[in-house]
């Protein structure tokens, strides 16, 4: 014991979850600092989960004003016109989140995240970016990787009834429970290496296993489309479908992949995904919450390195998109 015991208040409040991950993990959570960029429905779900879990602090970045879209899938924004008119999405969410757990410091940071330097990100243990351009994802990931302290990096995106999570824990050392030769429970230490987002998406498609989730490819096409057109993330609609399908064809050719491998029907669904589908927000926000808790506590196998969910088939799949030498 390091003498920093959980307070009586913490023990009472966190009793049920301490029974899941232990007091030591709970202590680590209470010292961790989380940054979330982009407060749509899925991010809101994640924030709720991580605040309830009892992290040390949560910082929100989203200078957007409240819109119909924001209200539709973000339960942290209460539709009170007087309040909404003057505050940003992050400020409104912050007010709601604070009351979920008074022991967590929830605050707002304003400004353009992509302009912040490494010393900003150094304040955090975990950075999550949502509704982010491809360029911003890459740049923030790189800034995090350059720091001497390990800053865990995640992207999360939900479009229509599909969701994607990307995980970069760099070098991650953790423990997990196993049964030894005598079938007795024991703890083993493991180490994983993660590729950056850039490295991961650079893996040629034809080298990936055939069974890799099609959602991976589809999301990359959408990402590239929005970048090429200079769109804000999610700023896409059915009118864009012909152009998106054309881009899909081009990318597939460049990747030596048969373009029919990525169904047009899937592309159509994603293109119509300006609004998130709340059940998928809950699912993705929940999975992301569990992953961040694992990363902070250093307990349990974290997923490596993409997670996909499609409500159409109901599968929640982990895909390892990396060069063979980086696989564990």
């Amino acid at each position: 014991m390091n003498g920093e015991e959980l307070t009586e208040q913490e023990t009472a409040l966190y009793d049920r979850q301490i029974r899941v991950w232990g007091a030591d993990a709970q202590r680590r959570l209470s010292k961790s600092h989380i940054l979330v960029y982009g407060m749509k429905g899925t991010a809101a779900e994640f924030c709720k989960n991580i605040v309830l879990a009892g992290v040390g602090s949560l910082t929100l970045v989203d200078d957007g004003a409240v819109t119909e879209d924001a209200l539709s899938s973000n339960f942290l924004i209460l539709p009170d016109e007087n309040v909404c008119a003057e505050k940003t999405v992050a400020e409104l969410c912050c007010n709601s989140l604070k009351v979920f757990n008074p022991m967590v410091r929830v605050s707002v940071e304003k400004g353009d995240l992509s302009s912040f330097g490494g010393d900003f990100f150094d304040r955090f243990d975990v950075v999550i970016v949502s509704c982010c351009t491809l360029m911003t994802k890459k740049s923030i990931n790189e800034k995090c990787r350059k720091l001497s302290k390990r800053v865990a990096f995640y992207t999360v995106d939900c479009r229509n009834s599909c969701g994607e999570i990307f995980v970069d824990l760099q070098k991650h050392i953790y423990t997990k429970k196993k049964l030894d030769e005598n079938n007795q429970p024991t703890t083993v230490e493991c180490e994983l290496q993660y590729p950056s987002f850039q490295e991961s998406i650079s893996v040629p498609w034809r080298t990936l296993p055939r069974r890799v989730s099609k959602l991976y490819f589809a999301m990359r096409v959408i990402e590239r489309f929005e970048e090429a057109e200079g769109r804000n993330p999610g700023e896409i609609s059915i009118e864009d479908l012909p152009a998106v399908l054309k881009l899909k064809k081009e990318i597939c050719e460049a990747q030596s992949m048969n373009e029919s491998h990525i169904p047009n029907a899937l592309m159509e669904r994603l293109v119509m995904g300006r609004r998130e589908f709340p059940p998928v927000c809950a699912i993705i926000g929940g999975i992301l919450g569990q992953e961040v808790i694992k990363a902070i506590s250093g307990k349990g196998d974290p997923l490596q390195n993409f997670f996909f969910f499609d409500a159409m088939d109901g599968k929640g799949v982990i895909e390892n998109i990396s060069y063979p030498s980086l696989c564990n």
């Binding site: 049920r16 979850q17 539709p79």
Partner: protein, 643 residues
């Protein structure tokens, strides 16, 4: 699918949620965001502090208030224009009859106990309303869909009965810590602080007749001239010292077992308890009985610490002292409550001392409390994931998208890369007595077993009927009801005490009894088979129901398991190391046996044998993916269909 925000099926739907707890809070939030506009929610509980780590609609200031009401108010804050009707009531109340259920398009369960789930299952079948069931424990979760006639009902697959232990294991030969907890909670605590008139197995039954205690005197009663410390030490020495010596005198018991060691307080704590008497006085003075705590009094700070034998002894004696010093009025009426700090402290100490005696590892108060209180470990994230999955299934139900109904498992460790694994639902089980009305048979000694035993253990506990009517042909043997006449009640009361063969309409081998619950609209026909002998250990109730029944838990360790009937009796002490695990035990090796619904165009072998594992290839071609499990390793968790 996102266009479902405006889907007419969702907008027009009337939905019933049962449970406003861990899953309920997440579910209500997601339903509201998804465009549902008419939601009813039933929950009988009030809010507790330990709920707040995951039931995020509740605040500290809400502790003590109705979950259903507070949940509704919280959700209306971000969806002010929808209708949420809360019921602070028990779903088993007669108000929630078939007519009530019929008004809904779908029922969504977020319950935490088997009894209520079975009850709702029956009402949904009777009302012909689809049911979406769910459960979570820690990182595991599952969601299943039940549509009458099309899929299994909730009871088609036998669910494990709550765990029980043989009496002798508890009273004489404990081998696990949980046995010590049951002893400390259901025997010692009950004996000292509970109803004195209750039967209690505390004194070990020994073949050595000379063990009978001082005649006419109850060892556990405090004597007039005894101060509290003397009393405490005397009880301690009796249960941990004397009783063990008596047990040891029976050589047979210990032939193949480690012998326990008797423990006397003078050896563990030679001196007097001369600590902080001031604290004891202080606690007497305070009105806040809930703050009386041994740990506080003894300066033990960390509930996660494992106390030494000496510390446990101190806690035992001090807890006893505090009960008598500041809660004397309650003594004689107390039952164990996991939120009663002093009771938890006492039970922890007593269990630990017994464990020490039997060479079983000691546990912390935190761990002991979890076992004694059947605490379910729970986190917000799993509930959130499950809530999302429930809403997805609910929408399929509303759109009558039958072919796409799925059972979905949330795994802690991925199986074939999947953390969320959908599986097609099964067809109804033809021998399910609930949805397929197939008859059962009961082996029973009709000359020894009374109607009361049949009613309590078979009809209520095992068959899950609340208000049964029992008939033999046209003769009413027993019924529960509000408007019964005096002479009928007298008749039934008398019948309960009669053995079956001596009932007004004699029940013997070959008799067919009809058992009904009108509220659940469930009728079971039970064929009686007379049997003389039953195994005391394996069949302690002297009754065996077959044809469709709850299966005993099958586990890797070879501890003898009883088929418990879940009821509290003096022959089988019910307890659980964990709360009733509602989930199918999920792991990578889990395979789901049974007949699948046929789907056109599935490749691979497909056998229709009920009792064998399906051997099918995973079909994986894009949007129309169906997950069908490969043959997995045969595993102890395999569920068998009972023919």
């Amino acid at each position: 699918m996102a266009s479902l925000h405006h889907s007419s099926a969702v907008k027009a739907a009337k939905v019933l949620m049962v449970g406003a707890g861990g899953i309920g809070c997440e579910l209500l939030k997601t339903l509201a965001l998804s465009g549902f506009q008419d939601i009813h929610i039933i929950d009988m509980d009030t809010i507790e502090v330990s709920n707040l780590n995951r039931q995020f609609l509740f605040r500290q200031s809400h502790v003590g208030q109705s979950k259903a009401m507070v949940a509704r108010d919280a959700v209306l804050r971000f969806r002010p224009n929808i209708s949420i009707t809360p019921y602070h009531a028990n779903v088993k109340d007669s108000d929630f009859n078939v007519e009530f259920f019929k008004q809904f398009n779908v029922v969504l369960n977020g319950l935490d106990n088997l009894e209520a789930r079975r009850h709702v299952n029956r009402l949904c079948l009777a009302a012909e309303v689809p049911l979406v069931e769910s459960g979570t424990t820690g990182f595991l979760g599952q969601v299943t869909v039940h549509a009458k006639g099309k899929t299994e009902c909730y009871e088609c697959q036998p669910k494990p009965a709550p765990k029980t232990y043989p009496v002798c294991t508890i009273t004489s030969t404990p081998s696990k810590f949980v046995h010590c907890i049951v002893w400390a909670k259901d025997l010692l605590f009950a004996k000292l602080f509970g109803d004195k008139n209750q039967e209690n197995d505390l004194n070990v039954r020994s073949s050595d007749a000379s063990n009978s205690p001082e005649n006419g005197e109850d060892v556990f009663e405090r004597r007039d001239n005894e101060n509290i410390e003397q009393y405490g030490r005397r009880i301690y020495d009796h249960v941990f010292g004397y009783n063990i010596e008596v047990a040891l005198s029976n050589q047979e018991t210990w032939k193949n077992r480690n012998r326990p060691k008797p423990i006397y307080s003078r050896d563990v704590l030679p001196g007097k308890l001369n600590h902080q008497n001031g604290n004891v006085d202080k606690s007497c003075a305070t009105d806040d009985l809930s703050s009386v705590s041994t740990m506080a009094s003894l300066g033990l700070k960390n509930p996660q610490d494992v106390w030494s034998l000496a510390e446990n002894t101190r806690v035992f004696l001090e807890s006893l002292k505090l009960f008598f010093a500041s809660r004397e009025k309650e003594i004689g009426n107390l039952s164990f409550d996991k939120d009663d700090q002093l009771a938890v402290e006492f039970v922890t100490a007593a269990a630990n001392i017994r464990a020490a005696s039997f060479g079983i590892p000691l546990h912390s108060l935190f761990e002991a409390k979890g076992i004694a209180g059947n605490i379910v470990h729970a986190v917000a994230t799993t509930n959130a994931v499950v809530a999302g999955l429930i809403v997805i299934e609910a929408i399929k139900v509303l759109k009558k998208d039958i072919d796409n109904y799925r059972m979905t498992y949330c795994l802690e460790h991925p199986s074939k890369k999947m953390l969320l694994m959908p599986v097609e639902p099964f067809e109804p089980n033809k021998s399910c007595c609930v949805c397929s009305k197939s008859p059962l048979s009961l082996e029973i000694n009709t000359h020894h077993s009374k109607l009361r035993d049949f009613v309590e253990k078979i009809v209520k506990a095992e068959l899950g009927m609340n208000s049964p009517i029992i008939m033999h042909g046209v003769t009413l043997l027993y019924e529960v009801g509000d408007d019964l006449e005096e002479d009928m009640i007298a008749n039934y009361t008398a019948n309960l005490e009669k053995v079956l063969s001596e009932l007004p309409s004699s029940v013997i081998g070959g008799t067919m009894l009809t058992v009904e619950d009108l509220q659940q609209e469930l009728t079971c026909n039970i064929y009686i088979k007379h049997r003389e002998e039953f195994d005391e250990e394996k069949e302690p109730d002297g009754m065996v129901l077959s044809g469709w029944t709850q299966a005993p838990l099958e586990k890797k360790d070879d501890n003898k398991k009883l088929v418990g009937n879940g009821g509290s009796t003096s022959t089988a002490l019910p307890t659980e190391g964990q709360k009733e695990v509602e989930l199918v035990e999920i792991s990578e090796e889990t395979e789901i046996s049974g007949k699948k619904r046929k789907q056109p165009g599935i490749s691979g072998d497909e056998t229709n044998n009920h009792n064998e594992i399906q051997k099918l290839d995973v079909v994986d071609d894009g949007e129309d993916d169906l997950v069908i499990l490969d043959q997995c390793d045969i595993d102890k968790k395999k569920k068998k269909r009972l023919q």
